[in-house]
Symmetry: C2
């Protein structure tokens, strides 16, 4: 989420993010250029520029000669996206497992406990925030620009698609189990296991979301 808003295009992107996060735009809705343009008091040109960026990040579906729509993901597409994310991030963590100091692993454990705690209190906003911190720390060691480009895109796409359903998703027990499994595998310093665990974590998450 860019903070700087130099060109109109960037402002449009930010505006659409808001519409998506607040739920004013639901999957299946069409983003009409003239409407957005009128809404923001600018012409359609920067809107079109912004659309391309949103399409690039998978936040908008483009149908030629028809328009831009908020994607409606089928269960298979959801699982596919999460699986792909799992494959990429599993590798990202695995390939850097030696760089995790004991104190950082401790921090990961700490974050897991926080998530459990927030989940028990049904404070979903904080669960997501701490979860993001956990995730960021986990892949922070990797510097493969190509891989990061893809994981960032997927992360943002899935975040925006499903932020609405977080509250229905998390049981404190599962959250604890899953994240602890990742931390444990890191502690064991077993690369194969690390990759597998992270991968499964995302596949399970995807399967769960696909069910609702």
């Amino acid at each position: 989420m860019p903070i700087i808003k130099k060109t109109y295009k960037d402002q449009v992107v930010g505006h659409v993010y808001q519409l998506l996060l607040t739920g004013e735009l639901a999957p299946g809705d069409q983003l009409k250029e003239s409407l957005l343009a009128a809404e923001m008091g600018i012409s359609r040109a920067p809107i079109r520029e912004a659309m391309k960026e949103l399409i690039m990040n998978g936040l908008v579906d483009y149908r030629p000669q028809v328009g831009n729509f908020i994607p409606v993901l089928s269960p298979k597409q959801i699982i596919d996206s999460y699986t792909t994310r799992g494959v990429l991030e599993g590798y990202a963590v695995m390939s850097t497992f030696e760089q995790f100091a004991d104190e950082e692993i401790g921090k990961l454990e700490n974050l897991t406990a926080q998530m459990e705690s927030y989940a028990k209190k049904k404070n979903h906003k904080m669960v997501v925030e701490v979860g993001g911190e956990f995730h960021d720390l986990l892949i922070s060691k990797n510097d493969n620009v190509q891989l990061l480009e893809y994981t960032d895109r997927l992360s943002l796409k899935l975040h925006i698609q499903f932020c609405r359903h977080w509250s229905k998703l998390y049981s404190p027990v599962e959250i604890g189990q899953r994240h602890r499994a990742i931390v444990e595998s890191l502690r064991l310093k077993d690369p194969t296991r690390i990759e597998m665990v992270v991968r499964e974590h995302y596949v399970e998450t995807g399967t769960k979301i696909a069910e609702l």
Copy 2:
């Protein structure tokens, strides 16, 4: 490479592909909108549309307020891209290894032999073509749309970036060894090994290209 060219935008994309493949555009070159527009007898609007698509596929670098450039990849970026491709395709093949019938594995072996043969004759065009066939058959079983989107992008990006250097790259012996290793692992039906071998294949290719 889309064959249908309905809108001007698609024609522009195709045109730029040609410029890239023929080497008329070299890494570092700027794609000037007005120039392309004049060249094709259209306005800048569809050019800009096409640029966004090319940027999306990683074929063009975008620098705000400055312009669009053919990317100059650093050795690290090259290795990163190939590694990422290896991670994705390694998983794609691994997760579908059971679907390869003996006859298809035979075909893969056959294609490998063809590549060796063409490589010996220094017929690089055919090496690449048969190599593409090998690659397509290898991931044809996978139907993860998200994963395929990324592998396709990477495949196209790397193809266009390095098509110029193919002739310097391939030694018949290496081609045979590498591809045969993949076929063998498939025959063994050992998923872990399959994933590893495919991954390494791409990492090695990337390392090799990064060196020149």
